[in-house]
């Protein structure tokens, strides 16, 4: 871990009751979800101007916690980087929004809702972003099957064409 990062991580650990781990030289903090807004404010105040990314991992069938929401912070002024992970349960998954702190969290949280069904509470515009508005399910969840399309060859073209779900006149 970077020497400049060490005191920052220790400070966050003490203030928010977080636990830190290190893997391949990168620091990672695990925070309870109630504290993420206060932590983001603190982190931004410490000079991490850029929220590089916000995404999630699904640990289905594990339920408590089912998801880990991942925040990657970058400091342009100090040239540092670390990660915050927030465990989110599988039943009614939600966490508070950080859109008012990092503006680019807006689309990232919409993506979180679209792909994982994790609601960002207090988000100004929580609609689906990548999938169509009437899509059912959340594709990046592990219990969502990877779909496929039957390939049509000359010998079975019409047979498959009959049951293929696309618009016909």
């Amino acid at each position: 871990m970077d020497k400049k990062l060490q005191p920052i991580i220790e400070e966050l650990e003490k203030e928010f009751g977080a636990t830190s781990t290190e893997y391949r030289g990168d620091a990672s903090l695990v925070l309870p979800r109630e504290k993420i807004v206060a932590a983001c404010q603190k982190v931004q105040g410490l000079g991490f101007e850029l929220l590089s990314t916000l995404s999630a991992v699904d640990y289905w069938p594990q339920q408590e916690p089912r998801f880990h929401v991942i925040y990657e912070f970058t400091s342009v002024s100090m040239n540092l980087r670390f990660e915050i992970r927030v465990p989110v349960p599988g039943i009614n998954p939600s966490l508070p929004t950080v859109t008012h702190i990092y503006r680019n969290a807006n689309w990232r949280e919409r993506e979180l809702w679209d792909m994982f069904g994790i609601k960002a509470e207090g988000h100004p515009d929580l609609r689906r972003i990548l999938m169509p508005a009437d899509w059912e399910g959340h594709p990046l969840r592990k219990d969502y099957p990877l779909g496929y399309e039957e390939p049509q060859f000359t010998f079975n073209f019409e047979e498959i064409d009959l049951r293929k779900p696309y618009a016909k006149e």
């Binding site: 893997y23 503006r103 779900p165």
Partner: protein, 409 residues
């Protein structure tokens, strides 16, 4: 099949002003088939005459579920999809993916492979900027720029074809090194590029930099400050055009970038014109890096000899039983990466291209998330578009240099 649910104005009520609901201002769809949206971007514009009051981007038309698909493939096979993300920067995507896998399984890359990676990544950056220059200038009605830029781009695509057999979707950079060594013609082809291209950049500058029409359309348009950029997650040339000197090649060097002498161009203005100047200067710097890397290109292997993760060379398979077993295991089961998660970022032509890779100890990525720069860069468009004319909005979209494959993944 359920009925297709239409998005109505009611759904978007909170995004447009009160006037639009009463019908005083006009709601207009720009895209997804509009040529100046550079692909399939749809912008819902609220217009008062010709002035944009609100701009609501609608993305996802090119969503192909690459993250989900990669989870279902072994590490070697998943790489092929990374080319298709940002199709203007396939080598950069391969580099980001390979470096993430290398970080996860702790693979070393031979120095020759690193130098070739840099050469190809910089050439790809150059060709990506060429496409941007051609199309962005075309949006401003400079038709001939498009033809010049695509003429030059062919030379670079020829080099890609020489190395990998493919012009765009190369998958040439692999975890642990390269697919194979570059052919003997490679050096001459790159030297030819290095000889001719600086003069060509001068030609573009002569056509555009002091062109009064260009200045009219770009000066002071789409202004973003450095703080706004960072708050919106905007990285790459857009951030540097707003005066923030942040380039991952310089600040967090990877693949041997620290050995090369190059400048990170910045401009304080943060408008469309500044982005144009920054990208043009970046093209010159890319050539400078390629030249240095080519001059001291070391000899040696181009793939790691850790055959647990990297396929052994073809010549060994015929004589070594062990090599044959490794080859068989790698192409049937794949390799098991250790449990853990990493985040690794490289500088793509559009900004910070990051890969979040998590492994559960199996042969397939448990979760792979792509932090694509265009996604965040495009988010700043409602801010830039407020109060500009529709014609200026076209210039702004051009200056972001979006690739919709990069936005929608």
């Amino acid at each position: 099949m359920p009925d297709i649910q239409e998005v109505t104005v009611d759904d978007l009520k909170h995004l447009v002003s009160e006037k639009a609901i009463q019908g005083e201002t006009m709601l207009l769809n720009m895209g997804p088939q509009h040529p100046s949206t550079h692909g399939v971007l749809r912008l819902l514009l609220e217009l008062d005459g010709e002035t944009v009051i609100n701009c609501i981007p609608d993305i996802g038309f090119l969503h192909t579920g690459i993250e989900k698909n990669m989870e279902a493939k072994t590490y070697q096979k998943a790489e092929v999809m990374s080319d298709r993300l940002d199709y203007m920067n396939p080598v950069g995507n391969n580099l980001a993916y390979s470096m993430a896998v290398e970080k996860l399984v702790e693979l070393d890359v031979p120095v020759r492979a690193q130098a070739i990676r840099v050469i190809l990544a910089e050439l790809t950056r150059y060709q990506s900027h060429l496409v941007w220059l051609g199309t962005a200038a075309l949006d401003l009605a400079a038709m001939s720029m498009f033809l010049y830029c695509f003429r030059e781009r062919e030379y670079i695509l020829d080099v890609m074809e020489l190395c990998s057999g493919q012009r765009m979707m190369t998958t040439y950079i692999r975890p642990g090194g390269l697919w194979r060594d570059v052919p003997v013609e490679f050096e001459a082809a790159v030297r030819n590029i290095l000889k001719t291209f600086p003069k060509r950049i001068d030609e573009y500058e002569a056509l555009l930099t002091r062109n009064p029409l260009m200045l009219d359309r770009t000066l002071g348009i789409g202004r973003l400050t450095g703080e706004e950029c960072l708050n919106f997650g905007v990285t790459g040339p857009m951030l540097r055009a707003s005066g923030v000197k942040w380039d991952l090649r310089k600040t967090r060097p990877y693949s041997g970038y620290e050995q090369y002498d190059f400048e990170v161009p910045t401009r304080p203005e943060g408008d469309v014109y500044a982005r144009f100047l920054v990208r043009l200067e970046e093209m010159r710097q890319s050539l400078k890096i390629v030249e240095q890397a080519l001059n001291k290109l070391p000899m040696g292997p181009v793939r790691s000899n850790n055959f647990k993760f990297v396929p052994p060379p073809r010549s060994e398979i015929g004589v070594s039983m062990e090599a044959l077993i490794h080859h068989f295991k790698l192409w049937t089961d794949g390799f098991n990466a250790p449990k853990g998660s990493i985040y690794n970022a490289v500088e793509s032509p559009r900004g910070e291209l990051g890969v979040y890779l998590e492994s559960d100890g199996g042969p397939k990525p448990y979760r792979i998330h792509w932090r694509t720069p265009s996604f965040d860069n495009l988010q700043s468009i409602p801010l830039m578009a407020k109060g500009v004319l529709v014609a200026d909005l076209v210039a702004i979209i051009g200056s972001i240099d979006i690739v919709l494959g990069d936005v929608d993944r």
